[in-house]
Symmetry: C2
Subunit: 367 residues, 2 copies
């Protein structure tokens, strides 16, 4: 794998859009006031025609690229390899917007946020968001920024599912989409793993129906993260990275040690209520069920479409991705489906920038 | 799938071999006295030459075939479809022996058994058995029965791994083996899932390092069983049996409901300490590590060998099974590798009797 060249720019600070009248969730509840944290990268041009919305996945935030400081230890944004000056989504040309999802815990009003009415975290009373809620919240940010049309909408995994939902809810809003490692619904194998992970969180002795703040269900979340992690990795990657190797002179398997490290790191920065809600939103999205058929879901979408899939992605196996492609083609939508071969499974869109950059660059160039 | 015809015979009662001097585990500890529960099926012939040892897998017992009563509600033995009068392993010809594993909780002295010295269950003080311990305990039963040579040794999954270990430890003891859905070591993908499941048991608030009797870690064991269950199922089977269907008029996924049912059923009949120990024994077996190479592991084995693998088994994918086949062929051992295509994944050896019976029957016939 070629060495990834990180961006060197210093990101703008995250910004907050405060909806004083609140945000109404699909399932009916309203939280008011409601803050949506977002970030922007690059410059919006004079006619406001160069904006690209980036949608983030389960564990990410609005911080797409760059660092907030020049501290070498700071981790850059989650799509730093694709978004930047001279990169696949080129900030010399495009203005990128990303909003932290309703349900997520990185600045947008979350289950862990204090309810001003009670002085306590929302906890169990926080709604279970949907992918539509995520799309609507992004739309609110774009409205706020005065952006009435997008050049493109991009994302992978849960982010890619938001991209697909955008085409159904706002089919005229964007010239194009770039959807990676996603489908119109999570197949049952992914559902099953997700459900098992959520049971782990909810059965942690500290969970207390979600009202646990001060005594977080860390162990349940750590193990749920390990389950999630497994669905992002291919059998090949597991074999080449870990195999049956033991850690040092111990009998502990290296994969066990790696999972403990990753699980603990994750549980320190992510909130269990956010995890189960954002993941459940992914599982609940089902464009066939919602629109009657997959063709009907994409009936009004005619924008340029780039679909990127990965041969070792077993969360969204190739046939699931092809169902989206075929439905759009049947509708007469121009689709380019880029099938990428990589050992890195579902997470390829976060790893193999040398493989995803050329199709993204070529796609944006011809728009 | 053709309708399975159950055996109609009434099984003999389980028998107990009590080792008053105890059983010494590979890792050094001895439990004394130590009971090995076993069952036999069919009749041993005059020259004691028709015995077949059957090795059971993770959740099974010594009860291979038939029922103890004529009660219609009683579940027959775990390999009732393969072992019986006129069946693949034909009780008209063969005398079948199966012993409950050290560590398992179906009659053999187990973590849940009362330690006569303390009057309390062994719990955390019960040793972590190995596959060698399982083989040695079976050998003790055969010695007790006056059987000094076997016609064959058969098993699937963990049972198949015992079969392979038999060829290394007692290469002259049997004319043949029949090993299904197994390899010389569990690949890392299976290890990872198993480790996650064990963490789930051990993090249950009731676990108490294994000294929990009276307050069992039921939820942890239920969820660990769901993880295990997933590794036995193929993506195809999940799709065709459950898909994204919901249960009745609820929003609960059918797969969720099915897992809850199966998890609860399992946790009622299986003990958590047994689960983590027997499963860890499977993970710890590594014939390459133990014997230096896979060829060395099978260096002394020259018996007739039937290996049965399943194309949708992702716990032991085909290349893992082929490593065993190739090592034996290199050594000059006669191997027939039957590759079976079925949607039923790892568990095919417990489901598709119409597919596994013909190769077993043909193999035994030519011995």
């Amino acid at each position: 794998m070629p060495q990834l060249v990180h961006n060197t720019f210093i990101s703008r600070k995250p910004q907050d859009l405060v909806l004083t009248d609140g945000f109404q969730f699909t399932h009916g509840q309203t939280i008011a006031p409601f803050t949506i944290r977002y970030e922007t990268f690059g410059e919006l041009n004079a006619d406001r025609s160069n904006a690209i919305l980036v949608c983030h996945a389960l564990s990410a935030s609005a911080h797409v690229a760059g660092k907030y400081t020049d501290n070498d230890d700071e981790r850059p944004g989650w799509w730093d390899g694709l978004v930047g000056y001279g990169k696949g989504i080129d900030l010399d040309k495009y203005f990128v917007v990303c909003a932290n999802l309703p349900g997520s815990c990185f600045g947008t009003t979350a289950p862990s946020s204090i309810d001003p009415e009670t002085g306590r975290p929302y906890g169990s009373r926080y709604p279970w968001p949907t992918i539509e809620d995520m799309v609507h919240s992004q739309k609110r940010v774009l409205d706020h920024l005065g952006i009435s049309h997008l050049k493109s909408i991009a994302g992978g995994s849960l982010g890619g599912m938001q991209v697909l939902m955008w085409t159904a809810l706002y089919p005229a809003f964007s010239d194009s989409i770039m959807a990676m490692a996603c489908g119109a619904a999570v197949p049952v194998q992914g559902i099953a793993w997700h459900v098992i992970g959520r049971k782990m969180v909810e059965s942690d002795a500290h969970f207390n129906s979600g009202d646990y703040y001060g005594h977080e269900p860390l162990r349940g979340l750590q193990i749920a993260r390990m389950v999630g992690h497994m669905t992002y990795l291919s059998a090949q990657a597991l074999q080449s990275k870990f195999g049956r190797r033991r850690r040092g002179n111990t009998r502990q398997f290296e994969i066990d040690s790696y999972f403990e490290y990753q699980g603990q790191k994750f549980a320190k920065q992510y909130d269990a209520n956010s995890y189960i809600r954002v993941q459940a939103a992914m599982d609940e999205m089902d464009m066939l069920e919602q629109f009657g058929s997959i063709e009907a879901a994409f009936a009004k979408w005619r924008g340029q479409t780039l679909i990127v899939s990965f041969d070792t992605d077993w969360l969204f196996p190739m046939p699931e991705v092809e169902r989206v492609e075929q439905a759009m083609l049947v509708n007469g939508t121009p689709v380019h489906h880029e099938r990428i071969s990589s050992p890195n499974g579902h997470d390829t869109f976060l790893i193999d920038y040398d493989l995803i950059t050329p199709p993204v660059r070529a796609f944006l160039k011809q728009l």
